[in-house]
């Protein structure tokens, strides 16, 4: 030892015990604190994962709508802005359009932030379609799919590393029969077996 002292036989088991206690305490503290940090991102990724997993059944980012109705005619065919004002008045839409566009002689298109009105000028038929964002899920999906790129890639990578740490540290949290030498081993085995059985059943990619 650097200080010149020698460890007695009686002291050794005690210091080993202290080390054993200490590393598990550290592990528990780190697991706890990283776990707290991971809560927010886990909710984002888990809820978005559920939403996007079922993308064939619903639109996870928007609520879509469409309807057809007829507004009073005649509508001016030589003044698009005036026609747009009349259509909006009949349809009860107060919001100012982003664009008013004459697609063909008889078809006028009014674009709003979340909806578009396709108006047939001759008979006043309106086909309205649009989508309202699902506020939380749209943002969560955007993050989960990393559509924005840039710095989020770093946060997402960091979160993945934290998850690996949480899973690994969780293995060694408990000593004894409920730990990795008992029930823990069975459950870990089950968790590994599920994807393996699935892959062997449906075939690998």
């Amino acid at each position: 030892m650097p200080d010149g002292g020698a460890q007695s036989e009686a002291e050794a088991p005690a210091s080993k015990r202290r080390f054993k206690l200490r590393w598990r305490q550290w592990l528990r503290a780190l697991h706890r604190d990283f776990g707290y940090i991971a809560v927010g991102l886990t909710f984002i990724y888990a809820l978005s994962g559920l939403a996007v997993n079922h993308i064939a059944d619903w639109d996870p980012s928007f609520e879509n709508f469409e309807r057809e109705y007829v507004v009073e005619t005649p509508l001016p065919t030589d003044d698009d802005e005036a026609a747009a004002v009349l259509v909006q008045r009949h349809a009860g839409i107060a919001e100012a359009p982003i664009d008013v566009y004459r697609v063909t002689d008889d078809l006028l298109e009014l674009t709003f932030e979340h909806r578009t009105l396709h108006v047939t000028l001759s008979d006043g038929k309106v086909f309205e379609e649009g989508q309202e964002p699902r506020v939380f899920l749209r943002a969560a999906n955007w993050l989960h799919l990393n559509r924005g790129k840039k710095a989020w890639t770093w946060f997402a990578d960091g979160y993945a590393v934290v998850l690996v740490f949480l899973a690994t540290s969780g293995l060694f949290m408990l000593p004894g029969r409920k730990g990795l030498l008992g029930r823990g081993a069975v459950l870990v085995g089950l968790g590994i077996a599920i994807p393996l059985v699935y892959l062997s059943y449906v075939g690998s990619p």
Partner: protein, 238 residues
Amino acid sequence: MTNETQDPDLCRSIARRDFIMRAASGTVIAALGGGLYAISDRLTREAKAQTRDDGRPRVPPGQRVIETLKPMGGTPGDPSRANFKLRVHGEVKSPYELDFAELMAMGPVTVRSDVHCVTGWTMLDAKWTGVTVKALAERAGLESTARHVIFEAAAGYTANVRLREALRDDVMVAWDFGGQPLRRPHGAPVRAVVPDLYFWKSAKYLTGIRFVARDEPGYWETRGYNNHADPWKEERYA
């Protein structure tokens, strides 16, 4: 009797048995429901009996027929036809850009084609109005080096298609679906339509068509999906 019902071990045992019975009943009911649903899927059954002109079955393997398109997400672009621009560029003699009126003026065609989504649904006889990619390519004049087409869309989305497949008569950029203007969830104002490949190749919110000499895997192709995406070969994943 009283003692028996108050025995905590027995209570736990009964609760566990009750849980297992309920779970088993739920599973059986769900399985029966799924079975009945599969049996009653008349659309799929009838379509599976049909054969295409090219000899392939009408419905590719692993697909179920539904009655209309599903939105399937994606980052929307500007839905306004007034602001629409389509850039045709890359390995071409005369690159150009079209606004919506110029695109329509190229002479719209209406095509009926089947749509096959990688998630397992198929829509038969989808009616699209637009301009064929072949017509757009002819206007630009392809260089002999062009081998692939990259559909470019809002938010950086891309999808790659082999040139000879992109120049088929039913591959187009469409602005009407089912006789109505293309809806926002389906890629308004203009989307690509590539009927014989899985539907992610049919880029929504289209902004450009780029002809390239070397293949460039697109958004989903670089995220584990198949580079070619032939539904009859079930080329779903890489």
